[in-house]
Subunit: 199 residues, 2 copies
């Protein structure tokens, strides 16, 4: 039986899960969530995830929250050491960028998009400043590398790409970050790649 994803098409965090499954050929049952009516904040979904957020991932009796943790699960469940190695150095390298997705990218380009596209009340100037900072660091990092963590694509790239590529919906386009734009293009060229609206 395929694992289930409680999903919103416009969510970059849900898209990460769909994208990794597509790249790895992992079957996935998509369950659309009525986000506008706040279904994710009410029972039964809030019983599955007390943080009141999606994605929620269900594989048999196992229920997981947080897009980065779900990527970790999928890569390990399907024993894709290429996408998530478990030796100390490489797992730590991938983890560094999972944390950038969870922190700097979430509070930068993701927050800017939440403000512009979904009307969230937050300090959009601060979000754009954080976005510029992390995009500058990413651009310098990717100027000499093809992929974020290792010499090949890993879940670090899948975790970080969506909200970077969606930044233009929050007033944070990739103009001026050529190495970042080239990295997004490399991900789009991976066999099995799927897009989402605005990517």
């Amino acid at each position: 039986m395929a694992a289930k994803l409680y999903d919103l098409e416009l969510s970059g965090n849900c898209y990460k899960v769909r994208l990794l499954c597509a790249l790895l050929g992992v079957p996935l049952e998509i369950i659309p969530v009525d986000f506008l009516s706040g279904a994710h904040k009410k029972s039964p979904l809030s019983d599955l995830n007390p943080f009141g957020e999606i994605p929620i991932f269900q594989d048999g009796d196992l229920v997981l929250r947080d897009s980065q943790a779900i990527l970790v699960y999928i890569a390990r469940k399907w024993v894709r050491e290429d996408w998530l190695p478990t030796n100390a150095e490489e797992l730590a390298r991938v983890s560094e960028w999972l944390m950038v997705a969870e922190n700097e990218i979430a509070r930068g380009p993701n927050d800017a998009r939440l403000h512009d596209k979904f009307g969230y009340k937050l300090d959009v100037d601060q979000a754009r400043a954080k976005a510029a900072r992390v995009l500058g660091i990413l651009d310098q990092h990717l100027a000499t590398r093809s992929w974020l963590a290792l010499g090949r694509p890993t879940i670090a790239d899948i975790a970080c790409m969506p909200y970077v590529a969606l930044g233009h919906e929050g007033g944070v386009p990739l103009d001026g970050y050529p190495a970042v734009a080239a990295w997004v293009s490399r991900i789009k060229a991976l066999p099995g790649f799927i897009g989402m609206p605005a990517i």
Copy 2:
């Protein structure tokens, strides 16, 4: 040769690394960073970590940033499957809480403390509201469990505890969160535990 930690005694993120090494009996060379003069934002430290932050962890030629990623490295390098299992379900469970440390706890009790104790300019009311939300979720979660991710202590507990226990320095005490307070006490009772100022 012992690994090196570029350290600030008052940083909960640096403390996590010191604490895990103490609990695991891993030798660690502490290199104090002159944080007040901004040494972490200048060369040579900013060459090691372009994010301009500490902790920075150095083991031979390997340099790592981000406290959560460093915990992952230490647990794997010293092959402590008990503290960080690598099977899909348990690694994902631990990862869920590493992400809470990186996101909700950082933007909640950690931000509130940065405002109150270190004079950071940020929306402290929002930080306290986020702190109350995550502490409520933690308290409910820990009401029926001894440890965050698994039936024993893991790096998830080490990642999440410091800024929760330091919350009183940001106007976020643990009054009203008895299960959280009991969990902090359980961590403090672990063999080899070390504290830091205000914990």
